[in-house]
């Protein structure tokens, strides 16, 4: 099966029902995408498929075939995506385990809604659990990323 991840084509030998999460992590060695629950409850495994946020733990790899998969490793070359810059500026991370999912969810939100209000952020980000409790800074950083992004496109 052919899988396109971060613009690179991979030949993958996996059963079609194998979740994309494990294909990424265990077969392709891309461990930035995290396992947290396996049942679409925590968002740690969030990736983009054709630009939309998806929970890779419940996405059979066959459903990603022929589509554009983006993971945290491919969000930017060097951590310079506005969301990543905002995250660094506001010192968001703690243990960091949930943050790939948080950042991917935030990037997908901003791609759709360049200037989200708190309600839109709460809605889009509520599915990504952070046990370290970085939520407050995440909210602020999404706003900051919107600002940084706006500046870039202007």
């Amino acid at each position: 099966m052919k899988l396109t991840v971060n613009g690179i084509d991979h030949d993958v030998d996996a059963p079609p029902e194998m979740p994309l999460l494990w294909v990424l992590r265990d077969l392709l060695g891309m461990t930035g995408t995290k396992y947290g629950c396996g049942i679409a409850q925590c968002g740690a495994c969030t990736v983009h498929i054709d630009g939309k946020q998806q929970r890779s733990c419940v996405t059979p790899v066959s459903a990603a075939e022929g589509r554009r998969v983006t993971t945290i490793e491919g969000l930017s070359e060097d951590g310079s995506h506005p969301v990543q810059r905002a995250w660094a500026e506001l010192d968001v991370v703690q243990c960091g385990y949930c943050q790939s999912g948080q950042i991917m969810a935030a990037a997908a939100l901003l791609a759709e809604a360049p200037e989200p209000d708190d309600a839109a952020i709460d809605m889009a980000m509520n599915g990504v659990i952070c046990r370290c409790g970085t939520y407050q800074r995440i909210r602020a950083a999404v706003h900051r990323a919107a600002e940084l992004d706006g500046r870039r496109s202007r």
């Binding site: 995408t33 951590g79 939520y135």
Partner: protein
């Protein structure tokens, strides 16, 4: 020069050869703390290595503690850099290996927990930096031919007699010098880093997916395992048939280990699939019938009779009988899972030269001993490579070394390197919970409304009993971690007649410390009772506390600051109310004012104003983050989380039924730090205890309903 000194010089030279730089080693200060802790040190003061300076000027700081989100990846380097005068951007950070040299200065074993890292390393890491600087200065003086008094340091450079020498250039000479026994540390007035909000050094890795957690470890030839564990606590394996599991493509081995049956496969998915169709029979054990609702009901009865006395003064019965008013409350606390975002895991490779373990652990010392016992190796042959921890909260500091021991057994039985991973269900149902507790308290108030008697009995499992920490328990068998925050409460100190009795039933459920340990329940009990007393006395909750805390300046300081910043007493929009709580834990004092509303049976927390006095605030940026995080963690337990045991097993298994706080519920938390020159206290845990009572007290102010059970249910 004595033999010891030359050994150390040899060590330094060897280290230079091995690393192309300088390793600073020296004696560990902290003998007093070690003695004061009452815990037996595992072996005196070995020479230590906390930093390495490369010829390229990089300063590599080795962490004796584990980074699990609390920010010590940044705070400990700050301590070294403060004395070393290096360029902050030249700092690199690594977890230290497991070695006695990195034993905790108070506990004597290599461990991270109890909110101790900053204070326990405050001297040692500054000394490490100061010793290095002094040797670099000496090297420069030698090179330039001037006395050391004519050398100045700054930004990783020594200047002397018009010459500038980079630290990297001086490593070769410095490496030939004898490390000083101790070096005077800077006066706080000279600090430029300590007290300055400093951003995390681990951010670049953690925002790009490059940070390696235990679950990310993947070595050549390493397989992945999941373990089928007993369906109820205490059940044992009767028999299993692995033929179907073995037929799953990718499954390589199915092996029996003490905790169950491991399915070892090419990748996680195959292992999970193989386990699903594993045919196993179990024999129930003595714990297999445990029901937590029944336990709590039994313990509520138990608290009607006096437990083992943990604190006593005056004549409580008499004073209670003569009180103007009495308040009686019964409190219930469930078992709780830590539910760190990264489920447990541990990678193990056993080879002819020893055993390598990669995992995110808070307990390198005990883990190393456990692995040595299983493999028959010497502890030094067990090399622990600490990865980042995807949260710890106490679960990764297990005296029983459960997840490490099991993984070593799996690798041993399979005969190949194996990474054992736990699914979320495994992690939630795996035990080592915050123990459930029941408290029953009667408070007698005098004519002036102030408490004159406090009679208290509680029941719940001991965390320390049965572990190697048991030796540190008092003779009466009362676990200090059950009563912390209660028997040492400043309020209790002000009540002339009081008695605390403790029942310690043992239903056999594995329990463990959970962020802020005993304070998770005692703070709720104490701060609810005081709020009830204030109400009964017709007093304002803050004013009432102020009266009781008059002789406790640090409690009072945070209470006043939080109340002021929260606008205590000012008008709120309709449908909102405030509640307050103040509590000391882990050497720090925290007051929180919560602003809540209620709609239907749902409690919403809108805003929390927190004040902390943690002594010297080493990194205010990290302190703010830890208080926010500690409050979020506490809010999960306040509003949602609970483990119900049925038939000896947790009913909950994943985030759909073990609910935790989500982003939309996160209040705005303002954190205010009391300026202080007191020695540093803890920061990782003290934010957690006050939040539940602050919220419950606000709910009472709003609705008149006094909630005495967590999670709060309207």
């Amino acid at each position: 020069m004595n033999g010891h000194g030359s050994t150390r010089r040899t060590f330094l030279k060897t280290s230079v050869a091995a690393t192309g730089g300088l390793v600073i080693a020296f004696h560990v200060p902290g003998a007093k703390r070690l003695a004061a802790s009452g815990l037996t040190p595992a072996g005196g003061f070995a020479p230590n290595a906390f930093l390495r300076i490369g010829e390229d000027d990089t300063v590599t700081v080795l962490l004796a503690h584990s980074e699990m989100g609390q920010g010590i990846w940044t705070t400990l380097p700050m301590l070294i850099a403060e004395e070393l005068d290096c360029d902050w951007s030249s700092i690199r950070v690594e977890h230290a290996p497991a070695a006695q040299a990195y034993a905790h200065t108070a506990f004597g074993i290599q461990a991270t927990g109890g909110s101790t890292t900053t204070w326990s390393e405050f001297d040692r890491y500054r000394q490490a930096g100061a010793a290095a600087r002094s040797m670099l200065v000496q090297a420069a003086a030698q090179e330039v031919g001037v006395p050391v008094s004519e050398c100045r340091t700054g930004n990783g450079v020594v200047t002397a007699s018009g010459r500038s020498l980079r630290y990297g250039e001086l490593t070769a000479i410095a490496a030939t010098l004898t490390p000083p026994e101790s070096v005077p540390l800077r006066d706080p007035s000279e600090w430029s880093l300590i007290g300055t909000p400093t951003r995390r050094l681990d951010t670049p890795e953690k925002i790009t997916g490059r940070a390696k957690f235990g679950i990310d470890v993947q070595l050549e030839g390493m397989l992945t395992a999941v373990v089928a564990r007993a369906p109820s606590f205490g059940a044992t394996l009767k028999s299993f048939d692995a033929s179907a599991a073995r037929a799953v493509p990718g499954v390589r081995h199915v092996v029996q280990v003490p905790s169950g049956v491991a399915v070892v496969a090419d990748h996680s998915w195959a292992a999970i699939k193989g386990r699903e169709i594993l045919d196993i029979e179990w024999t129930s054990g003595p714990t297999s019938g445990v029901d937590s609702e029944e336990l709590l009901a039994e313990w509520a009865d138990l608290t009607r009779s006096p437990g083992v006395t943990a604190a006593e003064r005056g004549d409580t019965a008499d004073a209670l009988a003569g009180a103007e008013q009495t308040i009686e409350s019964l409190f219930f606390f469930p078992y709780l899972a830590h539910a760190a975002m990264e489920p447990l895991n541990c990678a193990v490779r056993i080879g002819p030269d020893g055993c390598d373990i990669w995992t995110g652990t808070q307990f390198q010392g005990p883990d190393q001993m456990a692995a040595a016992a299983i493999t028959g190796l010497d502890p030094e042959q067990v090399r622990i490579h600490t990865t980042f921890l995807g949260g710890g909260f106490g679960r990764r500091a297990n005296p029983a070394a459960d997840f490490v021991s099991e993984a070593v057994h799996v690798a041993k039985a399979a005969g190949v390197p194996v990474k054992t991973i736990w699914t979320r269900d495994d992690d939630t149902r795996g035990g080592y919970y915050r123990p459930a507790f029941v408290h029953r308290a009667r408070l007698g108030l005098g004519a002036n409304g102030m408490p004159v008697a406090w009679d208290h009995d509680m029941a719940g499992q001991s965390i320390l009993a049965g572990t190697f920490f048991e030796a540190g328990m008092p003779e009466n068998g009362v676990d200090p971690s059950s009563v912390e925050g209660l028997v040492d409460s400043p309020y209790m100190a002000e009540v002339p007649n009081h008695r605390v009795g403790v029942h310690t039933p043992d239903p056999g459920i594995p329990v463990l410390w959970w962020r802020s340990v005993g304070h998770t329940h005692t703070a709720f009990v104490v701060e609810t009772l005081i709020d009830q007393a204030a109400h009964a006395a017709g007093a304002d909750p803050v004013e009432y506390r102020r009266k009781l805390l008059a002789e406790h300046p640090r409690h009072l300081g945070v209470l006043d600051l939080a109340a002021e910043k929260a606008g205590w007493g000012s008008n709120l929009s309709a449908g909102r109310a405030r509640g307050v709580a103040v509590h000391e834990s882990f050497g720090s004092f925290v007051a929180e004012v919560a602003e809540v509303s209620v709609s239907g049976n749902e409690i919403r927390v809108h805003r929390v104003t927190a004040a902390i006095d943690c002594g010297i605030a080493v990194n205010p940026e990290a302190i703010e983050a830890q208080i926010q995080g500690g409050i979020a963690y506490g809010l999960s337990a306040t509003l949602h989380s609970e483990i119900h045991l049925k038939e000896g097993a947790a009913r909950e298994s994943n985030f759909d039924d073990y609910k935790v706080l989500r982003l939309a519920e996160m209040p705005d938390v303002d954190v205010h730090i009391v300026p202080s020159t007191d020695p540093p206290g803890g920061v990782g845990e003290p934010g957690t205890p006050p939040i539940a009572p602050a919220v419950a007290n606000a709910v009472f102010a709003l609705t008149g309903q006094r909630l005495t059970e967590l999670p709060l249910k309207l």
